[in-house]
Symmetry: D2
Subunit: 331 residues, 4 copies
């Protein structure tokens, strides 16, 4: 059994840092977006979704981010507050930036795409002056996500948050969440992802994301070597996801654990990773065995991909427990 | 009586040039946008609305513009085609630009606002290579609108179109439509608006818009002097709008005509100018007396501001005729 | 005989507007710049050179421009003052811009090239607030040059200056001076050159420069048609230069005059155009016949290309008169 | 006695990475630059100067950098080659970048300033594809300098070089060389300096530079604590310079050594740091005791600041030995 050492003398369980945006999900499914006529508005962004998911499960969550000074920005803060997330770490941009948008298109459960608006977005305007050492010091874990590393000054803000977290024994969790359209090049991405991952305790990503990070090495997609590399820095748990084939979690003590997926009626694939991460983290913070935490993550993902939204669909423990009771995990 | 000399040997009545974008109108009214949950998608942009309005009235319309290479761009082209507008002059951006967005907020009929997404928009990527002399030569009138002058290369494309229009006796109509958020400064705006207006036959704008253009002169908001200035270049008709107090049209022969407004149940104020322009132009092209064209414009505006969208609400001649029959114009 | 109507009730003869920069001329000639070791510093920029040349000939010159807030900017202002040019229209940039640089390489008299530093240059930061109507109103002529049209806000400042000049009967002289490296595209250049040229009284350029401006037309390099085009706007004199084959000047009254070149020992080709323009303008302002003004321009050019600098080598009337006395113009 | 472990099986002693630029030193001293008339051209840039200085002392040096595709870029490569520096790691920019320039002004030995041209410079276009693992692997030491971290893609190239160096036991030396004008903010600078310094074996900087790096901590300018911080990462030697009061070197084994300065006739202060670094590194590579290496550094600095250039004035061992023989170090 392997447990991450979350400090108990902290008032916040999990702080997300980074992207806060708006999902505009087409109300009409199974058709190209040209033929949809209306969109429903949800809070989105990987770390926002994970913070919402964790809060839904009962964790005390907070957020460090920046929103636009307009109706979209205010909607985001109001939604987070209504979901019992501490928003004292959220700043309001004063430079005229806008909220990032993600219009979703669901042609079929297997064919989903996103049309992004990422020019001049407020979330990437987060700067070092918006990061409070005191706030991070009072939390058990800090969750970072790749997109916040994509541009200055947000990138520097994240590296400063990482420094504060390491200094105060805050467990750092990195959900890789690589979105190529946000970056100038895969080379640039790899450099900053690696610099950040060196400072993290828990790293969660897909095989393809780890491959991107290893582009300057010759690794041959070897999960074991990937995990060992990060254990040589500060990592204690490395989770590598292989899509519908499930995932594998390595721990620093040498063990590994395979996780499966749950049956579900898929509406769209968006949100699978974020819901997995929030429930997996919930398990870690409850000092569950890794396999149990992975099962919880998979069940949460199965629920979210059967629903219309990502954030708003995040399940409660009751919903997850019910699904697990109904099904056996496919190994 | 004053008539503009539209050439009759042309296959297209009116070509719009410039902004093609998407309006996302909140489905819930009379509340701040933070409290709305969904949006309906419409084609928008002042010259697009005017082209649609003209087509709805029976004119043969065309468009010179650029759309994004995504679902939003394709939706725009499909909608224009469905409205019998010739889209052969519309190019598709290949640089990764997006479609401009306008989220509307209707707090009350008197308190409407727009949240714009104008970074990296496809409409401003229109360039001189996208402007066909042959296409312009085959039209009776060219409609330009201020926003297309806001940035390179769209600005140069419009000036080239103006040159082609003057060369081939195409009547140029300038709907000022000044949107400050698109511009770097009021000074920059004034310079290019003036350079364009010098080459136009018909200029339509609000008193505030003409004031902006006259900022380097001392004019004291004098409508008559404003009109005389443009008659000294190429203008034949100058329409100056004074909001709910109606408008005044000057013609080069020295006459002026005041126009009133129609009673209506206002839902929102958006689209008033575009619907006015399309019906007024329709009147000019039918060689109507100026007062009759102004009345048609006012009636069209009264209809559009009582409905949810701008473009999709553009009336037919039947709808306008019915409203005029029902009411007397308030002078 | 054709005379331009310069108003006599003005305290300044000629105001230049636009580029003020530094030439760094290699002290070692007839070798590639890799093999030169030191550079001498001179004031440069086409309109600066013309203002200096005119002042050297005895005209009362002034300048509207912007310099960097550093040693280079202060050197430029000091040099102009020392040459009796009024610098009250020169502003100092406060945004951290630098002075444009031109490193010259003289491999042989026929093979000269320039290495330019034009990023973030102060001269292109000139804005409409730096242009005084009163200052322009007090001058007989305004000289513009193409590079100042290359970017905002300098471009708008020039168009405003043109408006003031036309309003107050100030003769506008346009030295085309097309520098491709300053521009985004030849199409963009042509649009703004044409808009400016429409407002000018005297236009001076090479055949290649006029070809660039006519790229949207089919003209076939016809000097006569080029001149006629501009006479249909406001031009009264159009000078078209054909390199070593001399130049031709058209006047609005239908005459044309060919000018030749003087023999000289060429050190480099830089500065030929600027020295020609300053002496030609000097002739016009003295109400000389066109051929005599052209001869004066050619003699001035012959002197400057035999010397190391452009600005500092500008001749006095004595020097020009002596050269003319010595030689017959080669027809 | 403390020795850095330089691997002996390497064909190159020291590779510099980063800034390659041109110094234009006023030929006239002791006056403001407005009153100077000519400039002499030298290769410049901190890591370039250090590579040249090391080569002058007999080390086998190489360089990883990018130069402009023009006469300035070619001059730099030719000069390095002539100084026996391996230039196989230098790429040529293809994007139209220019060579950075530094015009020096020597008002008095105490009052020297630099006018920089750093817009669109080739050195910051170095990218990850220009960094060869094989090249770094064949060297004993890699020298980095702060400016190369100032912008993408150069920053990523340096971090990749650091990874290769650590992987292959190449000693990494960081000459902080903080140039504020190159950076967006001091906060941004601190984040990347710290990320880089964590991976370095030898760190050399002024007290002010270390203060900048510690701005997110409370350290109170404590040299000892500064050194300890870096020893907790990979550092083995930390040199902190206190201007004319000399410097102090800390080694990981707990010792510290104070170094003094040599008497000299100062012409200008430029180049002091670079000449110090090159001779100090020369000492380290010869396994000298730290105090002897520091003395060598100080003597080299004393020579360079008495001469006109930085790079071209770098001394040979004979010159340094002679100065040391002549003087006692002022403690």
């Amino acid at each position: 059994m392997y447990n991450v050492d979350f400090k108990t003398d902290r008032s916040i369980d999990l702080i997300g840092i980074g992207r806060l945006c708006i999902d505009l999900n087409a109300d009409q499914f199974n058709r190209p977006m040209e033929e949809t006529s209306s969109f429903t508005k949800y809070v989105g962004g990987s770390p926002a979704n994970i913070a919402i998911g964790s809060a839904r499960l009962g964790l005390k969550s907070g957020f460090i981010g920046k929103v636009s000074d307009d109706q979209m920005g205010r909607f985001i803060v109001q939604y987070l507050k209504a979901n019992h997330i501490d928003t004292s770490g959220i700043s309001v941009d004063q430079t005229g930036a806008v909220t990032g948008l993600a219009f979703t298109e669901i042609k079929s459960p297997e064919e989903c795409s996103i049309l992004m608006y990422r020019d001049n977005v407020a979330d990437l305007k987060l700067d070092t002056s918006n990061v409070s050492e005191e706030y991070i010091k009072n939390s058990k874990a800090l969750l970072i996500s790749g997109t916040a590393l994509a541009a200055s000054p947000s990138r520097e803000a994240v590296f400063l948050a990482l420094d504060y977290a390491r200094k105060h024994d805050v467990v750092v969790i990195f959900d890789l969440d690589y979105r190529p359209y946000t970056w100038t090049s895969a080379q640039e991405t790899a450099v900053y992802y690696n610099l950040a991952a060196e400072k993290c305790d828990v790293i969660i990503g897909t095989r393809e994301e780890f491959d991107m990070m290893e582009q300057f090495e010759s690794n041959d997609n070897d999960d074991h070597r990937t995990a060992q590399k990060w254990f040589s820095y500060h990592a204690e748990i490395v989770v590598i996801k292989h899509g519908s084939e499930g995932s594998i979690a390595y721990t620093k003590d040498g063990s590994s654990h395979r996780g499966g997926t749950f049956k579900t009626k898929v509406l769209k694939t968006f949100g699978a990773g974020d819901s997995y991460a929030s429930a997996f983290i919930y398990g870690l913070m409850n000092q569950w065995e890794i396999p149990k935490a992975m099962e919880y993550g998979s069940a949460s993902a199965a629920i979210v991909i059967s629903k219309h939204s990502c954030s708003d669909a995040m399940p409660t423990t009751d919903e997850i427990d019910r699904l697990i009771a109904e099904q056996k995990v496919k190994k």
